[in-house]
């Protein structure tokens, strides 16, 4: 067999010659087609690059728009000027009792101080236009300053009072002073007054602490995200407290104990489907079951947490099961071989090894919960809440819903704050995802 067959008959010799002849023709054909084929290859490859460039440029556009719209929200312009504090207005009896001090007519004082800057303004209409420059919270700024420094009563005090958001926008250049006045929110006189204040150095830009220390407000200049952030923290805390233990327990049961039967199949199918149910359906569930049936309070972070628990459970269960699956069977056999009970084997050996994967899944689930808003609209977390919630049963809103609410307000100042709130939300999410990536990298094991 291993020798060359020497009785090559003429038929196969012919076939060989034919094959030889065919080959040169084939080579020619292949050669002729190459240019076209390589062009199509390059085109296809270019489509792929184009798709990626498109997707990434959309991502870039999104970020650039939001940052460019929102970065100005991190500082705020205020009026910084001397306010006279006549003792007979603030504290006629001279008791310096904080209660008396608190109830003085600060609005009048601030207005007087502003009026003093523009003595020529005297008609009622003009005065109203001038006082529009002051935020509703300006009297409180003065009140705080006086309460901090009662010694100034009788003299003057240099105080920083909030500007109305329109003037803040003017200072930041979002309102174009060059437009004719019927196309902007401020009249020419107002703009002129403001510019003269700016020239006198009375307009001061400073970090916008109100954004981080206030609850929601109808006035853009005093609207802050603290209430929403605290609400979000409560919601995520409730979600974490419920979904992590339940999710891990379910994963352990399904992966380590469950017999393979109809029932566990049903659970599995259920989990996979729940992972793809639209989030708003969970909101309907929460409304019907938690609010209507169990009578839990509307707008409460507790209910929000319950709803989001149900929503994030599938994510956590699926991630936890994958983590358990990746623990090699040899570890289990080793533990069982030493006489450990099944539960001991799981608690002592399998769970510690699977924990990083489970935590990663949980963090991702929490990030999902933190960014979710649709189901929370259903259970009333969309209410206008000024107070910062103190507990999981107080009415509250969450950061994404706050964004939704602010996005509805047409004022430029709210657009700016919405973008700022988005940046804060994204910062939280980036932090959580980075933590997940770090966890995965740090504890990744190859078996």
């Amino acid at each position: 067999m291993a020798t060359v067959d020497e009785t090559m008959d003429t038929r196969s010799a012919q076939a060989a010659r034919a094959a030889q002849a065919g080959r040169s023709q084939i080579a020619e054909t292949v050669n002729a087609g190459l240019g076209r084929r390589y062009r199509s290859e390059r085109r296809f490859r270019a489509y792929g690059v184009l798709a990626i460039v498109l997707a990434l440029s959309m991502l870039a556009t999104l970020f650039v728009t939001i940052i460019s719209k929102g970065y100005t929200a991190f500082w705020q312009n205020s009026l910084n000027f001397e306010v006279a504090l006549p003792a007979d207005v603030i504290d006629p009896q001279g008791t310096r009792d904080p209660k008396v001090l608190a109830s003085a007519n600060y609005l009048g004082l601030v207005r007087d101080a502003l009026q003093a800057q523009f003595p020529e303004v005297d008609s009622r209409q003009e005065r109203r236009a001038l006082f529009a420059m002051l935020s509703d919270s300006a009297p409180y700024d003065l009140q705080d300053a006086v309460l901090d420094n009662p010694g100034a009563i009788g003299g003057t005090i240099k105080v920083r009072v909030s500007l109305d958001d329109d003037f803040d926008m003017l200072a930041k250049g979002h309102i174009n002073a060059d437009l004719p006045q019927d196309q902007r929110r401020l009249t020419d006189v107002q703009v002129a007054w403001f510019q003269s204040l700016e020239q006198r150095g009375m307009v001061e830009a400073h970090f916008n602490t109100a954004l981080f220390t206030n609850g929601d407000s109808r006035q853009a200049e005093s609207a802050g995200i603290l209430g929403a952030v605290v609400g979000s923290l409560f919601v995520v805390a409730v979600t974490l407290a419920l979904s992590f233990p339940i999710g891990v327990a379910t994963a352990v049961y399904l992966e380590e104990f469950a017999p393979k039967n109809r029932f566990t199949d049903l659970i599995e199918v259920n989990i996979n489907n729940l992972a793809a149910v639209p989030s708003i359906v969970f909101g309907l569930l929460g409304l019907a079951v938690f609010l209507q049936f169990f009578g839990l309070p509307r707008s409460a972070p507790l209910v929000g947490g319950l709803v989001l628990t149900l929503m994030t459970l599938p994510t956590i269960i699926i991630a936890s099961r994958a983590a358990l699956k990746s623990v090699p069977p040899s570890i289990r056999e080793a533990a069982l071989g030493l006489g450990a009970s099944k539960l001991q084997m799981i608690l002592h050996h399998v769970l510690p090894l699977a924990m990083p994967g489970m935590l990663t899944g949980t963090i991702i689930g929490m990030a999902q919960a933190l960014g979710e808003s649709a189901p929370l609209l259903m259970i009333g977390m969309v209410a206008f809440v000024v107070d910062i919630p103190n507990g999981p049963l107080d009415p509250a809103t969450v950061l994404p819903v706050q964004i939704f609410l602010w996005a509805d307000s047409p004022e430029r100042a709210f657009v700016e704050r919405t973008s700022a709130a988005i940046m804060v939300l994204l910062a939280f999410l980036v932090f959580m995802n980075a933590a997940a990536v770090w966890l995965r990298k740090r504890f990744e094991r190859r078996w």
């Binding site: 090559m8 060989a16 292949v30 087609g33 190459l34 084929r37």
Partner: protein, 277 residues
């Protein structure tokens, strides 16, 4: 292809290890000189020099990880698609260096076909599997042409009788041996000059193996065939020449009869007598 650490310490192979090299251009279909292959910084093949004669079956044998498959894949530049794989030296096909810039890899692979270890029919019909090559290269002017190419290819692969009534059924539905013959038919549909076979029978039962071996023997009248095999018996049965690889080195290459009856090198002897493998 893994290289064991010991592969780094090269064994001394005398340059005259008994392989009568045909001087370049003298009837050799493929001539390899100084071929080195690296995966990243690991060297998988060292200084391979080898001639493959036309219309013969050349078998590559050797223990696993010796580099025989790697070398086979160099012959139609299949290693190009592996990240971090680097080939140096020259491999000439009909006196043209296939690693030259001018050589087009698509055209090259149309001339050097390949059959793989595991039968890998595409998840398409039997007809479409065989028609794939002619279609992408534009070899058939019309449907009748294509039908004819498919028919003859299947016939040459000895499969036509078994599948001619179910050409439109998926190729994945065939038995393992039939799948492998389908892959051979697919390869010869573009009428290549050389067919590379990478352990074509390792996933098959003995009966299917016998059929493939028979087929290989028939095919060598029209094609130059290079086959990698882990079975020495197979090498003895189907090949005219045999090359023995060990740890990335070509230890010995000679007529098959010579190799199996009178090996020149101690390593070859050890391998074919079963002392290691």
């Amino acid at each position: 292809m893994k290289t064991s650490p010991s592969a780094q310490t090269s064994i001394e192979i005398p340059p005259t290890a008994g392989f009568p090299l045909v001087s370049q251009g003298e009837g050799a279909k493929i001539a390899a000189r100084d071929v080195n292959v690296f995966y990243g910084d690991k060297q998988a093949l060292r200084n391979i020099a080898l001639d493959i004669k036309p219309n013969e079956v050349t078998a590559f044998i050797g223990p696993s990880g010796c580099g025989k498959s790697t070398f086979l894949r160099c012959l139609n530049r299949m290693n190009d698609i592996i990240d971090g794989c680097r080939v140096t030296g020259s491999i000439n096909l009909d006196e043209e260096d296939i690693y030259h810039r001018r050589i087009d890899v698509v055209q090259l692979r149309a001339r050097i076909g390949m059959v793989f270890q595991k039968p890998n029919p595409f998840p398409k019909s039997i007809y479409e599997n065989v028609a794939y090559g002619p279609r992408i290269h534009g070899l058939a002017r019309n449907k009748t042409d294509l039908d004819e190419i498919v028919q003859t290819s299947l016939e040459r692969a000895g499969l036509l009788g078994e599948v001619k009534d179910r050409m439109d059924q998926p190729g994945t539905g065939l038995s393992g041996g039939q799948q492998q013959r389908l892959c051979i038919a697919r390869a010869i549909a573009v009428n290549p000059e050389v067919i590379l076979m990478d352990e074509p029978c390792s996933a098959l039962d003995p009966i299917a193996t016998a059929k493939i071996e028979e087929l290989i023997d028939e095919l060598r009248q029209n094609y130059t065939i290079v086959i990698v095999t882990h079975s020495m018996q197979q090498a003895a049965r189907v090949s005219q020449r045999t090359a023995f690889f060990h740890l990335g080195n070509l230890v010995e290459c000679n007529d098959t009869e010579q190799i199996f009856t009178n090996p020149q090198h101690k390593l070859t002897q050890g391998y074919i007598t079963g002392r290691f493998g």
